[in-house]
């Protein structure tokens, strides 16, 4: 059976910033603040992200930001990707 992966972006996909990191649940990102681990959660009214390491900790809804030292950490958007078998 031929498999085709199709990416369906339910939320906005365009205009990603160069400084943006696309992460999946449980992944980490390298940042000027050090390695940050990211956990994504379902909420009743949407999604939220927990971004943290030993010196920074934030729980952000989509569109929310937190300033830490001279850095602005934002959860710009969430995307749902569906992998389809054919």
């Amino acid at each position: 059976m031929k498999k085709i992966l199709m990416f369906i972006l339910v939320f906005t996909i365009f205009s990603a910033l160069t400084s943006a990191e696309i992460v999946k649940n449980g992944e980490t990102i390298d940042s000027p603040l050090g390695e940050l681990s990211v956990n994504l959660y379902n909420k009743e009214d949407g999604f939220t992200a927990s971004i943290r390491n030993n010196k920074f900790r934030a729980v952000l809804d989509v569109g929310e930001c937190k300033i830490f030292e001279l850095y602005n950490v934002c959860l710009k958007k969430l995307m749902i990707m569906i992998l389809v078998k054919k």
């Binding site: 199709m6 990603a16 300033i67 030292e69 001279l70 602005n72 710009k76 969430l78 995307m79 569906i82």
Partner: protein, 426 residues
Amino acid sequence: MLEEVDDYDIGEKVIQGDITIDELIPGIERSITETEIKEGEEAIVTVKLTNPGDNLQVKYTDPWPKEFVIIIPKENTKIYILNNKVIFDRQLFDEEIFTYKVKLIAPVDKEIKATLEYAGKKITSDGLKVKSKNALKISSDLDPKDPDLFEKTNLTIKIKNEGDSEAINLNYVNIVFPPGVEVITADSKLTKKGATYEYIDEELKEDIEFSFLVRPTKLGLHIIKINAEAVDAGKTVKSVGEEEIDLEVKELFINMKLSSILFKNTGIQISATIENKNDAVTFKNLNCKMEGLYNKEYTFVQVLPEKALDIENTKFDFEDSSTRTTTQSLKCNYETNTGEKMSTIKSKEILINLSSAGEVDEETNDESEDSDAEVDEEESDSEEDESDDEQNVIIEDDKPGFFSRIINFFKRIFSTKPAFEDNSAE
């Protein structure tokens, strides 16, 4: 209640977060009440430091040249003076605004920049341009402001007494015209010495004005220089002024149309136009040469006015059918009506691939999509070109464009059964 999102497998939803981490940069804004200060006078400097991040240890250094004496308000203990520098060295919360005074003690014309050091980094502010106010002020004006070649324009030069004394003794005023500017009429108050007009020895109470009618006779940048000297309360003051006439010549505009990819070697369409985009400059002794796949020389006896001229629109064949990249160029040599020699060349890279012609004809859209995209890109380079009906590149007219393809892609997805149903069915 929060529920951690599922891990990802084929057929499952995968949630991805787009996280940005932007560095915030503190800001420095400075202003001064006067940018031209008389000696002995003061100006107030206002500084605003902003910190968009959390509290930050900063060191702001604002160095002033020795021509200034800094006076800081006694009540402000946050800033101090060290070696003629204003320093703010402490924690910066959201923002900090402070003012201080500078007193001019000697003539100056400088740009003063401040720095802000924080977290091992250093940023520099925009410069504050400050100069001493001269007792003798020179101003000049052209009407019309930007004359064309040989167009007459009125030049007015004003000398003002801006000193403390009611009258100052004007030693001289010199107005020097460059060779590219012809003086048609000069002010009768002036005496002419070569290209220089002089005004000597006069007590200046009010403004004095000189009028000229001039015209530029050459292309390029022409600077009319004005020098004046006066004695104000026993002190000699000098002042310099300049008026510029900039006659920039736009080179000949060449537009050459030829497909970027050729799949055949007969009936190739080539066209070319040339255009003079200047208002007052005309081009003469125009000689052009096509080189590359199509070779031809053109000699024009006419003077090229501002309108575009079609110089080629033909079909040609070429012999060498090997697959290669080659260059087609059109070079024109010409002279301006003022005798300046100029040259313009327009080149275009052409890919010759005769072997793929049949395949492309027979294959479906996908194979030719990329080459079409390339052609579109190349064509758009040659300015607002209208679509070329006689392109040699094989273009399937009914093929969807980029956005149509995206829409079709989504239509295809949504017209099939939903992904989850597919998976569950299996």
